[in-house]
């Protein structure tokens, strides 16, 4: 857990609620292996209002993986409308294949060798597009897990009224059982500023 620089749980129920909420968040973050994705984190809970605010600064790191990162894209044999993709490693071949199948159909993808894929298409038109094709987006995947953690596991289920802001740098979740008040949403922003300020110091 030491990977998260700041981890604050602020609540009016300081006796037990604070400890258990902290444990609950730790468990969820560990379960979904989000320790690396969250830089700083503050949670504010007031069970009497009731109000639950979850604010985190994110560090999503890993950029998306494109075809050109792990393969050479070339013209096929002379006279044929083909694009040849020569892979340097096999790790991503499954994902690449399913992307290509979805786009061109299974009939138009050949695999003459373990590390070679041949796409039947006009090379002049599609070669550049294939080079830049995104195979995997770790960022998106992490964000999906993050939303799963916050919305589906951490915030109490009864807190059905929710407002959230999600960017590549931060996430704010304000949730309650009752209609959200503007000052609660503002408090979320305030906590974000607090986390950022601490960042600068």
């Amino acid at each position: 857990m030491d990977l998260i620089e700041t981890f604050i749980v602020e609540t009016t129920d300081t006796e037990v609620g604070e400890k258990t909420t902290r444990m609950l968040i730790q468990d969820t973050i560990a379960d979904l292996s989000l320790t690396r994705a969250i830089g700083r984190l503050k949670v504010y809970v007031d069970p009497e209002l009731p109000l639950f605010i979850f604010v985190a600064l994110l560090r999503l790191g890993a950029p998306s993986i494109k075809v050109k990162d792990f393969a050479k894209v070339e013209m096929g044999d002379i006279g044929k409308d083909e694009v040849k993709i020569i892979l340097s490693q096999e790790t991503n071949i499954g994902k690449l294949q399913s992307k290509l199948w979805a786009k061109y159909g299974k009939d138009n993808i050949l695999q003459p060798d373990r590390k070679i894929l041949v796409v039947k298409t006009d090379p002049l038109k599609d070669m550049d597009m294939l080079r830049d094709m995104v195979i995997e987006e770790p960022k998106q995947e992490v964000l999906d897990r993050l939303i799963d953690a916050i919305a589906l596991r951490i915030i109490p289920e009864g807190f059905r009224v929710r407002k959230h802001e999600l960017t590549n740098d931060y996430v704010i979740f304000v949730a309650s059982e009752n209609t959200l008040k503007p000052e609660w949403v503002a408090k979320g922003k305030e906590i974000l500023e607090f986390l950022r300020r601490e960042d600068n110091a």
Partner: protein, 308 residues
Amino acid sequence: MLEPMMYIGGAYKHSQLIELVEDLGGYILQKNIMQSEVVILMLIPINDLNIVEAKSKELLGKLTRAPLSGSEIATIAPTLAYHHLPHLDCDVAEFLRKQGAKTNMLGLARGVGKRICELSAYERDLINEHDIAVFILGNYKHCVIEKSRKLYEGIEIPIVVTGAPELKTEEVPNATAYVGSFGRILHHMRHAEELKTLDRLSEVIGKVLDDVRMELAKDPPSVAPPRIKKEIEEQIPEIVDNLHPLPITLQMNGVRVKLPYKEYHEQIENIKFVEGVTMKEVARILPSKMRDFILIKALPKSETGFVI
């Protein structure tokens, strides 16, 4: 009076113990053989306890009191979402099962929130078919108390509540007993402290059940539930092929039979006891809210005027 006991020992010669208990007029509730070990849950006449103890010593087994055996307990979570399952709910249910109770896990449809929570009529009736309802609530004192004010409306059986704060039972409205140190836990409970908490829960439930037994003893059922079980096993052969877990589940003052009501209720109503009475004279045969099962509730002595 019958004492609920659990025997753990080697499978070798354990049939001698079973025969002894049956000869003494006790009942075998459940027998599980796991490789070379056997766990037997049984009811033993309290006056003959020392005979059984001597036998279990001879067989090098362990005989302990299992106050939870012969009861059906509902463990209830506000919903079946990831917030509550699998860890805490399953841990509680499994632990109570190990102590001899039959547990059924229930997730409510609209059990969430402290303002918006509610029980549906079906849920309430289903819960009322059990002996005890264990409500597994969350982390905050305020929420546990507020929720307890509303959620248990219409539940007539004893209610045991678990949650994170250490509260006194009197502080939790409508609860028969409260056990703290639980809360919304999202990991498997296996640390020494957590296991102690589970022990405390089973102890509290044991006490509540003992109270129920005492209350029942004041106006005892005309026929003991294990007796009903035994007669059904002997007179309705289809129960042997039934694949439900515990096809005849014992309750404090009745049994749940996992056979379709429509086809079997008449057959069960007409079960004959050697004393010359039929089942319908000593018990009510009702359709259960659980699937199409049959619920049998023994009539109290004050209604029939006799105990068999």
